[in-house]
């Protein structure tokens, strides 16, 4: 409940739509485990690299002028103390420049003194370079150009420039990704610990070059409370925006279904006779349909909006509740005080309202609490099969993504564990509430 209130209050609806937007998540690591995994690995000295984002302000700036050009150095120092390679890095930057485009160079200074130039680009050739995601050149006013680019560790330029240092290593680096070369010992392919310096250099030939933004993102293998998934999405965020949706579905379905079930069962039980039998037959027809199969077919043919799903669950949720209520109302109808009040000439409506419904309320509340988890589980199962509402990310959909990325075979347990655990805990809470309400209702009936 706490999570729901927090989510509804603090996360605007706009961010919900960002869940399926890859650009929103581009600064997040890929397939990172939860950060607390490191506490378990600490005794074995096996910590996984953490995700680190350095902004422009954290860089040490040094600049000097040569005769015809100016050099700006932005130096990030990165302390690397982990037992495994990071899963990559990316350096997004955006520059504003005038007539003459500057040149950009990225150098890595390793703890053992080696220095790699991993990227060099004189930006006049930039418009033709299109293999970097997010490369765009826009024409601003008074001949100022602006360029935003992102250097990935998997970019072709980075790998090509690293090949030139192949003879420094005692093993073949030709098939390794860039981060496994940069952070590796020279003797064998294990991580080299120490302080790395990433130096971002611009060579500008006039005074118009301004570095507007610069980040260094080291993609770790652990991130946040619950890690991230294949699409770099933060699972904690997904869990949080999934909570209100799940509760909405559960409560909406349960309240509607119990209300319909209560009145339908009441009428069927109280009227009795032919009407009652007919109504029971209708219930039986509904109960004898294999629901899961029908859910799949209906949501396949009639779209998958959230409202439709709720309607579907209500349609097949009420008959069971109606049957229970009918049994009770038949019992209560035959109690002497009900018959007495009938003899006194009270109308049917009044008898039902004043004598039968109050008796049924505790049971209805218990049924309500027990119907919530049923709806939540059904929704999760349907979204797991891919028939959920894509505009509302739910826990079932997260599990579906995990299944389709074969997370269970690749061992991304954090992606599977958290959503399922949330489903279980939520349903468990409602089941326990329902059980205790049922127990109390039975006790009060005995007295």
């Amino acid at each position: 409940m706490g999570i729901t209130i927090y989510t509804v209050l603090y996360i605007p609806a706009k961010e919900r739509s960002e869940w399926n937007n890859p650009f929103f998540w581009i600064n997040y690591p890929k397939n990172a485990a939860p950060a607390w995994v490191n506490y378990f690995l600490m005794p074995f000295q096996q910590q996984l690299p953490e995700h680190e984002i350095y902004s422009k302000n954290e860089a040490i700036v040094s600049s000097y002028s040569e005769t015809d050009f100016k050099v700006d150095n932005h130096t990030f120092s990165y302390e690397f103390v982990y037992a495994q390679f990071p899963s990559g890095f990316s350096i997004p930057f955006s520059l504003e420049f005038g007539e003459i485009p500057p040149a950009v160079e990225i150098t890595v200074k390793r703890p053992d003194g080696l220095e790699f130039v991993i990227y060099y680009n004189s930006l006049d050739s930039v418009p033709s370079v299109q293999n970097d995601i997010g490369s765009q050149l826009s024409n601003a006013s008074n001949q100022q150009h602006e360029l935003s680019q992102r250097v990935f560790s998997s970019s072709k330029e980075v790998i090509d420039s690293l090949i030139e240092y192949a003879d420094l290593f005692n093993f073949s680096i030709s098939d390794l990704p860039a981060e496994k070369i940069i952070f590796s010992e020279t003797d064998s392919n294990i991580p080299l610990r120490g302080t790395y310096k990433f130096i971002f250099t611009t060579y500008s030939f006039d005074n118009d070059t301004i570095l507007k933004e610069l980040n260094l993102i080291i993609e770790g293998k652990v991130f946040g409370l619950l890690g991230t998934d294949e699409f770099r999405r933060d699972i904690t965020f997904g869990i949080m925006i999934g909570t209100p949706v799940a509760l909405l579905i559960g409560v909406a379905v349960a309240s509607t279904a119990t209300t319909i079930g209560l009145f339908y069962g009441l009428i069927a039980g109280y009227k009795g006779g032919k009407t009652g039998t007919l109504m029971v037959i209708i219930i039986d027809i509904f109960l004898s349909i294999p629901t899961m199969v029908l859910f799949i077919i209906l949501s396949l043919n009639f779209g998958s909006s959230l409202l439709f799903l709720i309607g579907l669950f209500v349609l097949f949720g009420w008959p069971g509740l109606a049957l229970i209520n009918r049994t009770f109302s038949v019992q209560i109808k035959n109690y002497p005080y009900v018959e007495a009040s009938k003899l006194m000439g009270e109308s049917d409506f009044k008898v039902v309202l004043r004598h039968i419904i109050p008796q049924l309320v505790p049971f209805t509340l218990a049924n309500f609490a027990l119907a919530v988890p049923a709806a939540i589980l059904a929704e999760a199962a349907l979204s797991f099969l891919g028939f959920g509402d894509p505009s509302f990310p739910t826990w079932g959909q997260m599990l579906q993504d995990a299944h389709f990325s074969s997370a269970e075979i690749l061992g991304y347990w954090w992606w599977i564990l958290a959503p399922g655990l949330m489903i279980s805990i939520t349903s468990m809470a409602f089941i326990l509430i329902g059980r205790s309400l049922e127990y109390r209702a039975k006790l009060s009936k005995k007295q």
Binding site: I296, L300, A380, L385, E408, I409, I423, I431
Partner: protein, 319 residues
């Protein structure tokens, strides 16, 4: 369907083009096209395909076909022998489903009866609360999610069982059955773990209610050994309710099996149905739904008949 006819007509015309004199005389391609269209419309009309789907002729036709188990051919799926008939597809997948789900439900029930009646004798211990807790837990944990966790545990971390349950050896080859059983182990274990807690819980509940009846207490006073009372008298009287439990369990697995088979990639009917839905293979979907419903109703019928056989009190008819 209309597309199929179009292909058929075009093919038969191009086959007969050398023989049919009248067709040969037509040089203009437009004239040929008009003849083809005419043929198509004649065939559609004779098959009743031009009428809307709700026309009595069409509905009664298709209902009759389905009722006589003439389910047609699947669009995309074939059996291992290459036949695309829906009936043969179902017949091929049915034994797998029965092998996995019936054995696991029966195992669950047997474990439930043994453990449940054992626990019924010693009420109020910690084991009682444990079973009750496990039973509510297994109700609230989605079985398909639990299967994913099991795959992570056994296929990724421990690497004992394969993650995909479709056997690698093709059916018919020697060793196929052993391979099938090996691939079946993980889903089987998963389903037993999911099911056994609630099964034990309900058996215990049922047996306890029977044990509290007067005639069982009398037997105890007479001096019969408590084990004999439990197995001979109490379980016999709890029989109908246990049967109901079994029947409900069996019918419930039919629906749930779609998800579990899909996760484990078990070559059963649930997986077939899921793939048919994804590919929009309507003849197969219709056939499978009909078959599911038939199976479901059949189970309930058998259940009702067995119940009335076991418990004569039900047979009297009046409510």
């Amino acid at each position: 369907m209309v597309d199929n006819i179009r292909i058929q007509v075009t093919n038969s015309l191009s086959d007969s083009i050398s023989e049919n004199q009248r067709l040969n005389q037509l040089q203009d391609s437009q004239e040929r096209q008009s003849i083809i269209e005419k043929q198509i419309s004649i065939q559609t009309k004779s098959l009743g395909l031009d009428e809307p789907w709700y026309s009595p002729k069409k509905i009664s036709n298709s209902l009759l076909q389905i009722a006589t188990l003439n389910l047609g051919n699947s669009r995309f799926f074939t059996t291992n022998d290459g036949s695309s008939s829906v009936n043969e597809l179902i017949i091929e997948k049915l034994p797998n489903t029965i092998l996995l789900f019936t054995t696991s439900s029966i195992t669950v029930i047997v474990i439930g009866i043994i453990l449940g009646s054992y626990l019924a004798k010693r009420e109020g211990k910690i084991s009682d609360k444990l079973v009750a807790g496990l039973a509510s837990a297994s109700l609230s944990v989605p079985p398909w999610w639990f299967s994913m966790i099991m795959i992570v545990l056994f296929s990724y971390l421990l690497q004992i069982f394969p993650a995909r349950s479709t056997p690698l050896i093709s059916p018919g080859a020697p060793g196929y059955f052993g391979d099938l059983l090996y691939h079946m182990t993980l889903p089987f274990i998963t389903m037993v773990i999911i099911g056994f807690a609630s099964s034990v819980y309900y058996t215990k509940y049922i047996v306890l209610r029977v044990i509290e009846e007067d005639y069982i207490k009398t037997l105890g006073i007479i001096g019969l050994p408590s084990r004999k009372i439990l197995f001979k008298h109490a379980l016999k009287n709890a029989g109908p309710q246990l049967m109901t439990m079994l029947g409900i369990g069996l019918t419930a697995t039919l629906g749930g099996s779609i998800l579990i088979e899909e996760i484990f990639d078990w070559p059963g009917m649930g997986n077939l149905f899921y793939n048919a839905v994804i590919q929009n293979d309507s003849p197969l979907i219709i056939g499978l739904v009909y078959f599911f419903t038939l199976l479901y109703l059949l189970t309930r019928l058998v259940l009702d008949l067995t119940l009335s056989f076991l418990d004569p009190r039900i047979r009297t008819g009046d409510e």
